[in-house]
Symmetry: C2
Subunit: 142 residues, 2 copies
DNA sequence: TATTAAAGAATAACGATTTTCGAATACCCG
DNA sequence: CGGGTATTCGAAAATCGTTATTCTTTAATA
């Protein structure tokens, strides 16, 4: 995995830097779908000198070489995901967390849409909104 | 249809103004899913004095009284749709147009997700992106 | 038609995200 | 090891859809 990103960076003419590896590691080891600020914060401990600008530029590159997908979950900022598989997401409108949704055959849906619309689809985003299990517990008073 | 919006505005304590009717007419008579700027532009001919701020405020009201839905098609701005049925959208990454996708049973998909996750879902947003038939012809992307 | 509160026009302001800038640093190739 | 140059840092600035403001106009009611 780390080997993969190193090769991909070099192979695309990008230098391999600790910052780039670190940003990718954050995304590869979380299921939280962080935005740029969250990535930046989580690197403060290990990379106190990391610049937010570097996070943004690194994400651009990681996206360009196919290692990171960009999520628009209807918030002000973008979220990022190193899981490049075709899966949907659900955002809790109470606490803001974004979880994976794997119980959806996205490829099948895509095929149906492609047949119906005559578009050649290159991607898709499914977002669901609701209340996560934890917030349901806390908000019993509803 | 115009009768409907008039009643709804009055019934909700809003005044019926030419601007409000005009904004709704644009949305009711197009399939282009315009954003605020596009609505504003398309009204320049008939309402040269229309303010962009009025477009925004009117959309708020139309949304509030259930006449317009707000779309997040993965762009910087929101798009609006007077078709209140539950349907998905597809955006052409070449020319930016946004088309309807009626070949998707969103309610069915939502039920599946709700069963699989433990979220209590309150809404969803699907959008697909790809290359529309016309842009495929022009070979902008082979 | 007069009254009055709501609404519109025009434009300034907003504000969080994202980008830019220039000097310092460090990756990488030979 | 160096030299060349991509990259980083840090702060500042831009971005830009949307909202607030101020003054003017208008819809609704009787
Ligand atoms: Mn994910
Ligand atoms: Mn539509
Ligand atoms: Zn929650
Ligand atoms: Zn197109």
């Amino acid at each position: 995995m780390s080997k993969n990103i190193t090769e991909l960076l070099r192979g695309n003419g990008f230098k391999v830097t600790p910052q780039r590896l670190a940003v990718y590691e954050v995304l590869a080891n979380t299921k939280e779908h962080p935005n740029a600020e969250m990535i930046f914060s989580s690197l403060q401990a290990t990379y106190p000198t990391m610049s937010l600008a570097t996070v943004y530029k690194t994400i651009d590159i990681l996206h360009e070489i196919g290692l990171v997908q960009i999520l628009n979950a209807g918030e002000d900022s973008f979220r990022y995901d190193a899981d490049m598989s075709n899966h949907a997401h659900v955002r809790c409108v109470e606490c803001g967390r974004v979880d994976d949704v794997f119980d959806l055959d996205a490829a099948k849906v895509t095929r149906e849409i492609e047949a119906g619309t005559r578009y050649r689809l290159t991607g898709q985003q499914f977002y669901f909104y609701g209340v996560c299990p934890e917030c349901q517990k806390q908000g019993k008073a509803h």
